[in-house]
């Protein structure tokens, strides 16, 4: 999860936030980091470029991108072997 947080900060250019400041279960959208729809697109790009994972169903996005823990779990479950 530590690497994933570094990648999120880099991909979203979160200038004021350090990776260690992001809690594992902290909400990423609306509250918490208050990310927006463009950030969601950036996270989809991150999953594809860094982990080779294509989001099969965009409707699952809100649940997958809810917290760093959820994203990490999705990567673990869907990473190409």
């Amino acid at each position: 999860m530590k690497t994933l947080k570094v990648q999120i900060v880099e991909q979203l250019n979160l200038q004021q936030i350090k990776p260690e400041d992001i809690g594992d279960d902290q909400p990423l959208f609306v509250e918490g980091l208050a990310l927006d729809s463009i950030d969601a697109l950036e996270l989809i790009v991150l999953l594809q470029q860094k982990y080779g994972i294509k989001l099969a169903n965009p409707a699952d996005g809100p649940q997958i991108f809810k917290t760093v823990r959820n994203i990490a779990q999705y990567i673990t479950d869907n990473r190409p072997k």
Binding site: Q11, Q15, L41, E42
Partner: protein
């Protein structure tokens, strides 16, 4: 067409033009590439939004918002801008991403910001302006096209009282390399303040943004903008003189009424030939000022010249480093004569 009043303005350039005293002390660069002096953007742009913005989007938006604040106008009736290349750095990033991802999925941010009208759109979103919003991309005529658009809007629609007009461009590592390869830039490094005294082959690269709140009502005005005229590839100085005299006549002036000519000399001997000839043999009674040694050459540098002219009209002071020939005239009627390659343009303003 009716003149418009410049009631607010702002400029970010390689010189201390943003929020500084006027006349400013010109900054010396020992490089053929001049870059903008960037301010703290926090008072203008939400840090959460600025993390995605490229350099030009930040300084273009900031200048637009400051021109509105300067005029005390919350939201204009229309926005009209000009740019030569738009957000070039983001366009480059987007194309690089496409290549690196082998045309697969790429980051959306650079793509969203790579359009030419991103600055004017961002200003409109920030101040809630839902009116006319146009960006002109017409090489060396981009800014003059925006000025003409504003004058026509005010002429045709009495409800158009406040129009924000501006121009913005940037030089990137990639564009600078291409300009050098095309030999548009001097081969040897030259100090910018020596550029116009030592004509040679090529010029220096620059960038900047300047915005103006043009109004139909006079309120603490910097200068009166009478109009602009464009002239493509004039073949002789006689054609320029004919066009200029007709332009002045439409504004009820003759050449001898002009006090100051802000001349778009760029330091390239070939490109400056016609302007130099006119300065020496036609504008003989006027004070001649230069500006491209201060901001560098780029397609919308005439917006910097309009900022300079407006500040001179308002304060009556002339920055010493701009003076090419001082004829000790008043600062009442100012003609900007810009040349970008084959694109010649006049802008007339007065006190």
């Amino acid at each position: 067409m009716k003149p418009l009043y410049i009631n607010g303005l702002s400029c970010i350039s390689p010189q201390p033009t943003f929020g500084a005293e006027f006349p400013f002390e010109a900054k010396r660069y020992d490089s053929n590439r001049l870059s903008c002096i960037e301010p703290d953007y926090a008072p203008y742009i939400d840090p959460k939004a600025s993390r995605r913005m490229g350099r030009l989007l930040k300084y273009g938006t900031t200048v637009g918002l400051q021109a509105l604040r300067d005029a005390g106008v919350g939201s204009p009736d229309a926005i009209s801008t000009g740019t030569g290349f738009g957000l070039l750095d983001d366009s480059g990033k987007f194309l690089k991403n496409v290549t690196e991802a082998e045309e697969g999925v790429v980051s959306p941010t650079a793509f969203i910001q790579s359009t030419h009208n991103t600055v004017s759109s961002n200003i409109a979103l920030t101040v809630g302006c839902k009116g006319h919003n146009n960006t002109f991309v017409n090489k060396g005529f981009s800014f003059e096209s925006a000025l003409l658009d504003a004058q026509m809007l005010a002429e045709e629609n009495a409800a158009m009282k406040n129009i924000l007009v501006g121009a913005y461009d940037e030089t990137t590592d990639y564009s600078y390399t291409i300009m050098k390869r095309l030999r548009l830039i001097r081969e040897q490094e030259i100090a910018n303040l020596d550029l116009l005294q030592t004509p040679g082959s090529g010029t220096i690269a620059g960038e900047g943004a300047a915005f103006f709140l043009l109004s139909t009502e006079k309120v603490d005005t910097y200068a009166i903008l009478h109009g602009s005229e464009i002239l493509y590839k004039p073949t002789s100085t006689d054609k320029v003189k004919f066009k200029l005299e007709a332009f002045l006549s439409r504004n009820k002036l003759v050449l001898s009424d002009i006090d100051i000519v802000i001349s778009g000399l760029c330091g390239d001997a070939k490109r400056d030939e016609m302007l130099g000839n006119l300065n020496d043999n036609y504008f003989t009674a006027q004070t001649i000022l230069g500006y491209k040694h201060l901001c560098g050459e780029y397609m919308t540098s005439s917006a910097f010249a309009l900022w300079l002219g407006s500040m001179i009209a308002k304060t009556g002071s002339i920055p010493a480093e701009t003076i090419i020939r001082d004829s000790h005239r008043l600062t009442s009627n100012i003609l900007i004569y810009n040349v970008y390659k084959n694109d010649h343009a006049f802008v007339l303003l007065s006190k």
